[in-house]
């Protein structure tokens, strides 16, 4: 049975614009509306997590000052902050938000291939968030088991939220995975099946490559979290012993027999490590496009960048146990996972070199998106280098329980991706709204966030080297190896964190204010080559492309081509004498 590609059947589909408010903005199947819905919910729940981090820092910086932060509250804040930031904010925002918005526009499609399922994906995601939030109001409050939810303590009395809080968390994760699977199927299938004519895989912008590969990783890795969530829920509710060992709890023998907590750790990290790259790969892709556009240079080593994304994606499945060195394992396993961890640094380093070479001697415009993109490179290199320390068993063992790890993962998968999120919002906001974000406010936002986050996390490395343990509610003065300087550093970090959190309000204000008062952007304010800037309307209307789909003739990085009349040639411009079909360093067409 032969089928015609969806792009070629375009004329069969009349564009029925939704008319009612509900069909247009709420129960909408338009990928752009769904993207904004995802983004709003993700940012809203992310603000909750930000507030929790402020409360944590208040406790650490000024212990014995805030009576309303009890030890159990502190652990609940840790848990919810970590889970929300990693899953409900970053994953949802990069794939549900940017994935939804960019894939059809950058590939030249009218929409996702399964729009109804796409809409369901958002609503199920919202349900997952609501169940998570409901967990904050159940008896005992949310779980305080730490974001890794390790058994046996996660479901034993004594841990905050061990009765209902953990159930809400597990249920919410399971629901989230259902939502993500519906979305992920859409992203992958759309990239494979709904590209416009001429958009070969090797002409796709790197943003699409990053989101596409991250979606595949998510589809294969999230089932591990699903399996562990289901089995732990059964341990808690039914009394099975998948993960729960035969332990005594509160002086009494528990009902559990000989379950394996290590099994949970394997399953969790089999999801958990690819999750790092589910967040990082879209960031890698997006930052490549930001750098190229704002430096007016073609991306350096496009094909190598694609290979690096794929290599990182594959390798991310064979490094998970480096999170478990201190759980105990066969030394040969440790050697294997340390080796794979170091190997994954190779394609990652290739990407960093290529980013730097892209802007090297480029016509760099220090716009706000470019500032965030450059800030990302610095932060990612810093966070990545400390990852090399922790990837080695012998170095990880003494550092694993300290603030060095907190500093590392916040730099590499907290601050770095968030800088890209900000850069991407500043970059694509004009396309989404037709107005520019205010540049002065944007620069204030960037410098305060960039310097502020370094003020927070650089000292944490020092704390870690000193051996200051993480996960502690307070540090008693009687702990001999913790000198008074640690308390002063903690105060400094807290004040910096309060400052950075407050500065984010400038960003939110800018988002809202510019919606009405921002400078009109026009169709292509950054003079970019990719297809989303070539739509007939800004913001793009339902169906994106008017009557006819675009046709692509070149790759996405034709910047500063010598003979061309402008310093960029959009992907949909046919080749002629003045706009040749593109060139790369040293390779003439």
């Amino acid at each position: 049975m032969a089928f015609v590609a969806i792009a070629d059947r375009d004329h069969e589909h009349a564009l029925h614009d939704p008319q009612s408010f509900i069909r247009k903005y709420i129960w909408s199947q338009d990928h752009k509306v769904i993207a904004v819905q995802y983004a709003i919910v993700a940012i809203a729940i992310g603000l909750v997590a930000l507030t929790m981090s402020v409360l944590m820092r208040l406790q650490l910086g000024f212990p014995d000052t805030f009576a309303f932060i009890a030890p159990e509250n502190y652990y609940q804040f840790i848990t919810m902050h970590g889970m929300i930031m990693v899953i409900y904010l970053l994953t949802a925002l990069f794939l549900g938000g940017f994935g939804n918005y960019l894939i059809p526009l950058m590939c030249g499609s009218r929409d996702m291939v399964f729009p109804y399922m796409n809409m369901l994906s958002f609503w199920v995601y919202l349900l997952a968030v609501l169940v998570l939030v409901a967990g904050m109001f159940v008896p005992g409050g949310p779980t305080g088991a730490g974001w890794t939810l390790y058994p046996p303590q996660a479901i034993l009395p004594g841990t905050p939220g061990a009765s209902w809080g953990i159930i809400c968390m597990l249920a919410s994760l399971a629901i989230f995975i259902v939502a993500f699977t519906m979305g992920g199927l859409n992203y992958v299938t759309t990239v494979l099946q709904a590209r416009c004519r001429g958009m070969t895989l090797m002409r796709m912008p790197l943003s699409v490559w990053g989101i596409f590969t991250a979606s595949i990783l998510g589809l294969l890795a999230f089932p591990a979290l699903f399996v562990s969530a289901v089995m732990m829920m059964l341990d808690s509710l039914v009394g099975t012993s998948f993960f729960m060992p035969a332990v005594a709890s509160m002086g009494e023998p528990s009902r559990y027999s000989g379950g394996s907590p290590l099994l949970f750790q394997h399953l969790f990290w089999f999801f958990g490590h690819p999750e790092v790259y589910i967040v990082a790969l879209p960031a890698f892709g997006i930052v490549s496009d930001l750098l190229s556009t704002h430096a007016r240079r073609n991306i350096f080593g496009y094909r190598m960048m694609v290979w690096a994304i794929l290599a990182i994606g594959c390798l991310s499945f064979v490094v998970w146990a480096h999170h478990m060195y201190i759980s105990g394992m066969n030394p040969y396993f440790g050697f294997f996972f340390a080796t794979t961890t170091l190997i994954i640094a190779v394609p990652t380093a290739i990407k960093v070199y290529n980013w730097v070479l892209t802007i090297w001697r480029g016509d760099v415009h220090l716009t706000v998106p470019m500032l965030f993109a450059i800030g990302f490179i610095f932060t990612f290199v810093n966070g990545g280098l400390t990852g090399l320390f922790l990837g080695n068993v012998t170095v990880d063992v003494p550092l694993s329980g300290t603030y060095f790890v907190v500093a590392h993962f916040h730099m590499v998968m907290g601050v770095s991706p968030i800088l890209v999120v900000f850069g991407a919002i500043y970059h694509w906001y004009p396309k989404m709204t037709g107005r520019m974000l205010d540049e002065t406010l944007g620069k204030i936002h960037f410098w305060a966030t960039f310097i502020g986050t370094y003020a927070i996390y650089l000292p944490m490395h020092y704390l870690g080297i000193l051996g200051v343990p993480r996960r502690y509610y307070a540090y008693s003065n009687s702990i001999e190896f913790i000198p008074p300087s640690v308390h002063e550093v903690n105060q400094w970090i807290t004040i910096s964190a309060l400052f950075v959190a407050a500065v984010q309000m400038v960003f939110l204000f800018n988002l809202v204010w510019s919606l009405r008062h921002g400078k009109p952007s026009g169709d292509n304010p950054w003079r970019a080559t990719t297809l989303e800037w070539q739509t007939p309307d800004t913001p793009p209307k339902h169906g994106n492309w008017g009557k006819d789909l675009p046709v692509v003739y070149r790759w996405a990085y034709d910047y500063s081509v010598p003979s061309a009349p402008q310093d960029f040639i959009p992907q949909n411009v046919p080749p002629d004498d003045r706009t040749p079909a593109g060139r790369e360093h040293g390779v003439k067409s």
Binding site: M1, A2, F3, A5, I6, A7, D8, V113, F114, T181, L185, N186, V188, L192, Q193, R195, R197, G198, M199, T200, L201, M202, R203, L219, L220, P223, A224, M231, L234, V238, G239, T240, S241, A246, S257, G258, G259, S260, L262, L263, L267, F270, N298, R303, V306, W307, L310, C314, F317, V318, V552, Y553, W555, Y557, P575, A581, G582, R583, E584, S589
Partner: protein, 225 residues
């Protein structure tokens, strides 16, 4: 876990090779297009590709459950070894036969819809679904049987895994039955054959074959351990 890692590596390798590597020789920045610009367009229905991607996800899910099964079975020695092998109910053999018949009926339906014999295709689809419902009923009966066994206790991981694995497999079949019911409503001998019904039957058939394959794997695991 090693089985899962092997599966992931294999699946990723196949995906990369089949979809990507053969197109990596393209150098779109070098050559002016001489071929038609539509040469690289995909030529399969999105729903078909979507199903195969979904099957990869389901494979990952079951591979992880099976890895967990093996790891849990090997966990603990001496006093804490709590795995008490289960004598699987004989009805599972009958159930397996029912699912094979369901899959065969679906295949028969697919063959008929390809030849344009809509009435037969409808019958095959209907019978396939009924066999599947019978399979699910049989699984419920097996659940009751296991409940009556001496080894039945939630603390026995063999029992817990039996219920979890059969439940997850059954839920996937229930999802398939939802699509089956929608297809059955759409197909009618009095109406001309719409192309999407033909596609629906094809995809249902692939899905049924796949879940039969998964069940055979699960059943073999259960009776072998």
């Amino acid at each position: 876990m090693s089985a899962t890692a092997a599966y992931i590596a294999l699946a990723t390798g196949i995906l990369v090779w089949a979809l990507l590597v053969r197109r990596f020789t393209a150098k779109p920045w070098e050559a002016v297009l001489e071929r038609g610009i539509g040469d690289d367009l995909p030529n399969s229905a999105p729903a078909r590709v979507g199903l195969w991607v979904f099957l990869a996800v389901v494979t990952s899910l079951f591979a992880l459950f099976m890895s967990a099964y093996y790891m849990r079975m090997g966990h603990g020695h001496g006093a804490v070894h709590d795995w008490s092998t289960l004598a699987e109910p004989a009805v599972l053999w009958v159930n397996s036969l029912l699912l094979i018949l369901a899959s065969a009926s679906m295949q028969w339906s697919r063959a008929n819809i390809t030849r344009g014999q809509i009435a037969r295709a409808r019958d095959g689809l209907l019978i396939g679904g009924l066999f599947t419902i019978a399979f699910l009923g049989g699984q419920l009966y097996a659940w009751r049987e296991v409940r009556g066994l001496d080894a039945f206790t939630p603390g026995n991981p063999a029992v817990a895994f039996f219920y979890v694995l059969t439940a997850v497999h059954g839920l996937h079949l229930l999802g398939g039955l939802f699509v089956w019911a929608k297809t059955l409503i759409r197909i009618s001998p009095r109406r001309p054959e719409p192309i999407d019904v033909r596609l629906s039957i094809e995809l249902c058939t692939v899905y049924w074959h796949y879940l039969l394959f998964v069940w055979i794997g699960l059943f073999a695991l259960l009776i072998a351990t």
